[in-house]
């Protein structure tokens, strides 16, 4: 199934300055996002998934961040664009949904006005057109009373409603890609289900792609088409969602799936991963980065310079250590 690539990330390296030195939080990531797909990026905190999302729209503070590599959208590199050019893309062709809608919204602006702001920048609508489009959007994201919400302030809405308003803002200019950074993490499970259903429904009606960043494997299984698992700044495994859950290969993916206290099984002990996620300054920069978490797996089984292995079409695994790996509970 050959698909059109919408967004291409090439050898992206995002580094943060810590005490005068730059350390790469995203260390050479390559990925393609196709038209009309939900691409999920999973990993634990500190693995670089949010750093990557912010690099795509260049929302990092450039005073202490360096982005290298290429992010190609319609043949143009977003990383080298001028500010007016990238401003056209932000909110226009690429919409963003953030984790915490309360801090992401302006507390002094009414919800309607905030959504209209997007329309002001990216369309030529006049005032009444903007208002009717905003009401339409609020209705589309499932607000019970769009006219009332239009005049409310963010603090007057519940968490789920706020996240809906954020989604309305993100889809206002009909973007081709939505980057959703942990869109449901701050929400209760029933509300989470509603928001996921909403995102799924919107995708059917607007036909856009989505880059979904999450740490919740349940969310991934529920909505994603393809998944990339990140560890220590690198993608360690990439596959379609069905392939990944049916046939996880990288030791990290397998450990992660096994440490889930699933609501469906109740084993006496959970699988744990030995050691801790290394901090930015202490990341192993050569060899297999997961090696130190699986010390019983002999060093000779890892590659010195890990490469991606294509095990089946579209399923890539980093480092050959997966071939002989057996799970073993850590301390």
């Amino acid at each position: 199934m050959a698909q059109d690539v919408l967004l291409q990330v090439k050898d992206l390296r995002t580094s943060f300055r810590v005490e005068g030195e730059y350390y790469a939080a995203v260390d050479g990531v390559n990925l393609d996002i196709y038209k009309n797909e939900v691409f999920a990026l999973v990993g634990e905190s500190g693995c670089g998934k949010s750093a990557m999302a912010l690099s795509i729209t260049r929302l990092h503070n450039m005073n202490y961040t360096r982005c290298e590599g290429e992010v190609l959208y319609e043949g143009k590199n977003l990383l080298t664009m001028t500010l007016p050019e990238i401003n056209k893309i932000r909110g226009g062709s690429i919409g963003m949904i953030f984790q915490d809608p309360l801090t992401a919204m302006n507390p002094l602006m009414r919800v309607g006005a905030q959504i209209e702001e997007t329309l002001t920048y990216h369309t030529n609508m006049n005032r009444s057109e903007k208002k009717s489009r905003t009401l339409e959007l609020l209705d589309q994201v499932g607000m019970v009373n769009p006219a009332l919400t239009y005049d409310q302030f963010p603090h007057e809405l519940s968490g789920g409603m706020r996240q809906r308003a954020m989604i309305a803002m993100a889809i206002a200019a009909k973007p081709e890609i939505i980057i959703a950074d942990e869109p449901t993490t701050a929400l209760d499970v029933t509300i989470q289900a509603q928001i996921l259903d909403l995102l799924d429904e919107l995708r059917g009606s607007t036909g856009g792609s989505m880059l979904l960043i999450t740490h919740d494997l349940g969310v991934v299984a529920d909505i994603a088409d393809r998944v990339a698992v990140m560890y220590a700044g690198q993608i360690v495994e990439i596959a379609t969602v069905f392939e990944l859950f049916a046939n996880p290969l990288h030791p990290y993916t397998r450990s992660l799936l096994n440490s889930m206290p699933s609501a469906l099984t109740e084993e006496a002990r959970l699988h744990t991963i030995q050691g801790i996620v290394p901090s930015l300054q202490n990341l192993p920069r050569s060899g297999c980065r997961f090696a130190e978490r699986i010390p019983w797996h002999h060093a000779s089984l890892h590659e010195e310079d890990p490469q991606y292995h294509e095990v089946s079409p579209g399923h890539f695994v980093l480092c050959s250590c997966y071939k002989t790996f057996t799970l073993k509970a850590g301390a």
Partner: protein, 308 residues
């Protein structure tokens, strides 16, 4: 005899309004909740944010006032004395907090953090104290050399283990765990949950486990209470709740858990939609005037549900 018996607990917070700041109403955070915990048992308290589950935990520890109702511990009524410092009750009940960044004093060493309850209640010499702290650290899987470090030197999971070590220092008989793993990553969460289970077996403690994560709760608790609108809507064993849910809210909650099998995606979505439709339709059967939760009524030996 039950270790802890909570009867008809109510916690109401006043709302002040107007220029004079008079009380204009009440927020009913907990409105008539009864349950009991046997020694060594784990009870899970599940509900959405704002349903009052943390308030129940806090009132048991005396961290908030109690409007009405009684709390009995070991058969003794401690409702009045629960907020008194250094009562023996305070020694037998401890808490593990959700936020591992704000629940450890950043200016104290791990040794002082873990030894604080010991210093309050037990008269130990310096060497005895140090020995106990080392023991506690090894119970939660940390080495004694960590005792002289400060909290910022640790990762989230290690911090939570320090919190666990502090909570078990006095060998309490009940620990209130308020979302102990919600802020932690999956692999770290597994470590902390395993430790909590091991420690429980070793020290025979009871847990009141508060969480919104139904997967974690199912893993940890043999009995569950589902809260909604400040009251219990359902109470039962793990099996009663997960396989035989009777209240519409519980059904909706369980249907909302994301399944890790992508092949069942469509079925789950359909199931969810059906239950949501049912929820709208049957709301009056389960809630008085669409809000008030009815009293619990037994439907089997272990299973109680709030409906007409």
């Amino acid at each position: 005899m039950a270790l802890l018996e909570v009867k008809d607990l109510k916690v109401h917070f006043p709302i002040h309004g107007g220029i004079l700041g008079r009380v204009v109403g009440y927020v009913k955070a907990v409105d008539g909740v009864s349950f009991s915990i046997e020694p060594g048992q784990t009870i899970g308290l599940v509900g959405e944010s704002g349903s009052g589950k943390s308030t129940i935990g806090k009132s048991i520890l005396g961290l908030t006032h109690i409007t009405a109702g009684t709390i009995r511990f070991d058969g003794k009524d401690i409702t009045k004395s629960v907020r008194k410092n250094r009562s023996p009750y305070r020694k037998s009940v401890q808490m593990i907090f959700q936020d591992v960044y704000s629940s450890l004093n950043p200016r104290k060493r791990v040794l002082d953090i873990i030894a604080e309850p010991l210093r309050n209640f037990e008269n130990l010499s310096k060497t005895e104290e140090r020995k106990r702290v080392d023991e506690l650290l090894s119970i939660v899987g940390m080495t004694p050399d960590n005792a002289s470090k400060y909290p910022f030197e640790f990762s989230g999971g290690q911090r939570q283990r320090i919190g666990v070590a502090r909570a078990i220092a006095l060998k309490p008989r009940l620990i209130v765990c308020d979302e102990p793993v919600s802020a932690l990553d999956l692999s770290v969460q597994a470590q902390v949950l395993n430790h909590l289970k091991d420690i429980q077996q070793e020290l025979k403690m009871a847990y009141l486990f508060i969480s919104h994560d139904l997967g974690v709760v199912k893993h940890m608790c043999e009995h569950l209470a589902i809260m909604h609108h400040a009251r219990f809507v359902e109470y039962g064993t793990r099996k009663d709740i997960y396989e035989n849910a009777a209240h519409i809210y519980t059904k909706r909650l369980i249907a909302a858990i994301p399944d890790i099998d992508p092949n069942k995606r469509k079925d789950n979505a359909r199931n969810r939609a059906e239950i949501n439709a049912l929820y709208e339709k049957e709301l009056p059967d389960y809630y008085r005037d669409g809000y008030g939760v009815y009293d619990l009524r037994p439907i089997s030996d272990t299973h109680q549900v709030a409906m007409l």
